[in-house]
């Protein structure tokens, strides 16, 4: 069927991007695959309605909602903390340095979504606000707070731009 062909083409074109975003949100490739698949199935069910607009935008909204719902349902499975771990000053910084992926795990699901949308997807504050159903002010504030947390978690040296050789 023509609709199915169009849908398959869309999945082949956009599936990877969606899954990468899902990965940053959940930090697990298997779960990212599940979230992406669930999102695309929902898109398939609404394909005739969304195909005339922007299916990728629709999928991104569904993905975020699916992820946040999943986090709400599974909130007991993940340990959230607002306490930043101590970093002994004398230790070897290279050994103690955590990755961005680890650092994202210390953010709340919503803050993580904001950071991923702003800095992985390169969306504006306004667009992130629309995607998450928040006010631009809230997005701006939470984005700044999340970035400040990341700076501390990742260390000041990581927060600086890479030196130009």
């Amino acid at each position: 069927m023509r609709d199915d062909d169009e849908f398959v083409a869309f999945v082949e074109q956009s599936g990877s991007r969606l899954r990468d975003t899902a990965f940053w949100l959940c930090r697990d490739w298997s779960l990212a695959q599940d979230l992406t698949q669930a999102t695309l199935i929902k898109a398939y069910l609404s394909w005739q309605r969304i195909t005339h607009n922007d299916p990728y935008w629709y999928c991104k909204k569904v993905l975020l909602r699916t992820y946040l719902d999943h986090k709400r349902l599974k909130s007991s499975a993940e340990v959230q903390t607002d306490v930043i771990p101590d970093r002994p000053a004398a230790a070897d910084a290279a050994e103690l340095r955590i990755t961005l992926l680890d650092a994202l795990g210390h953010l709340s699901p919503q803050d993580r979504a904001i950071v991923v949308l702003r800095y992985w997807e390169d969306h504006s504050v306004q667009t992130v606000a629309e995607l998450l159903g928040l006010s631009p002010g809230v997005v701006k504030m939470q984005s700044m707070r999340a970035l400040a947390s990341l700076r501390v978690l990742l260390g000041e040296d990581e927060a600086l731009p890479a030196p130009i050789a």
Binding site: M1, D4, F7, V8, V11, E12, G15, S16, R19, D20, F23, W24, D28, W29, S30, L31, Q33, D34, T36, Q37, A38, L40, I41, K42, Y44, L45, L73, T99, L100, L101, V115, Y119, W120, D122, L147, L150, L154, E158, A159, L160, P161, A162
Partner: protein, 335 residues
């Protein structure tokens, strides 16, 4: 000014070993088609209930219950049901978007019993008892990969005369919808109704693009119990694919198992239940007792269709097989 975050995202993603997306489009397509069918059937059952409410005869609330089965209210469709039980009827083929009639009807008044249970002490049916009895009734062969499935149901692999295959059984409280035998079905599905000498109705469903349910036998015992046997042509999702297999039993064998009088959606033989609950205490599954009467509460079309690669999807137990459903917890030889 926050270029460092951008660059960290890019650097870390480039160091990630990203799993292949091969086949995802086809999987999503198959899942989407399945979800569409389930959703359409759900809408149909809702319409039936609404019609029943208008007529003042509705006594139960419908719910999705299994791959092709939809629970609906018996009273809601009684007016349109065929007055006499059919000898053999085949539902006409419809288009891809045809909405099949619900298969299971729930009712507070019990229909006449065609396959009465043997007398004796009874206990609340458990999935363990269903698995135990299924293993006794299967033809000779090695069984393995036991799991509980659906509200009241079980799964096993059978490696017998026909080769390795997966079999699932689910017991529903209710009765078969006579309309399921006559209403048009989607083009990838066939439904045929026959009547056993006892008067019990047998609904045989074949779904060509569903390897978990290519052959489904439902038998209405007539006492509020419908037994469904799913004979698969693949194994559950192993994280990469559904490995293809053979139909481990024939339609006639599945029919024979489903028609056994021992089955009861509410109660089964007490000693069987006791023994089975103890034997299969370690089998994975969330439903050992007859609490939900063989339905899949909370299983929406979407979640059912989103077969989980990681086995983490919460409602996958009632849908297409997932890795978590295939957890083998025992092996024995049947027959």
């Amino acid at each position: 000014m926050d270029e460092w975050v951008h660059s960290m995202f890019r650097n870390e993603m480039s160091s990630q070993a990203r799993p292949s997306l091969d086949g995802m489009a086809q999987e999503v397509l198959a899942g989407g088609r399945r979800a569409r069918r389930v959703r359409a059937a759900k809408i149909a059952s809702t319409v039936l209930v609404a019609a029943g409410l208008v007529g003042g005869v509705v006594v139960a609330v419908p719910a999705i219950a299994g791959g092709h089965s939809v629970v609906a209210d018996r009273g809601a469709v009684a007016k349109s049901a065929s007055p006499a039980r059919p000898g053999t009827q085949t539902a006409p083929a419809g288009g891809a978007k045809t909405v099949p009639a619900p298969v299971i009807l729930t009712d507070t008044s019990l229909p006449p019993s065609h396959i009465p249970q043997p007398p004796g002490a009874k206990a609340a049916t458990s999935s363990a008892a269903i698995l135990d009895e299924l293993l006794k009734l299967l033809p000779p062969g090695a069984t393995s990969n036991y799991a509980f499935y659906g509200g009241l149901g079980a799964q096993t692999y059978l490696d017998g005369a026909n080769g390795l295959g997966m079999i699932r059984i689910v017991l529903y409280q209710g009765s078969l919808n006579p309309d399921a035998c006559t209403t048009a079905v989607p083009s990838d599905m066939t439904r045929t109704c026959t009547t056993l000498p006892s008067g019990a109705t047998v609904l045989t469903t074949k779904i060509s693009d569903n390897c978990i349910e290519p052959l489904v036998i439902d038998i209405d015992h007539g006492d509020g119990t419908v037994v469904e046997i799913d004979v698969a042509t693949c194994l559950p999702w192993n994280g990469h694919s559904n490995p293809p297999t053979q139909l481990a039993i024939t339609a006639a064998q599945a029919q024979q198992i489903a028609a056994n009088p021992v089955w009861g959606a509410e109660q089964m033989d007490a000693s069987l239940v006791r023994h089975a609950n103890s034997r299969f205490a370690d089998i994975p599954g969330d439903s050992h007792a007859a609490a939900s009467g063989g339905s899949c509460p909370g299983a929406s079309g979407d979640s059912r269709a989103s077969a989980s690669r990681s086995g983490k999807a919460s409602a996958s137990r009632c849908g297409r097989a997932s890795a978590s459903e295939s957890t083998g917890a025992g092996t024995s030889t049947a027959g």
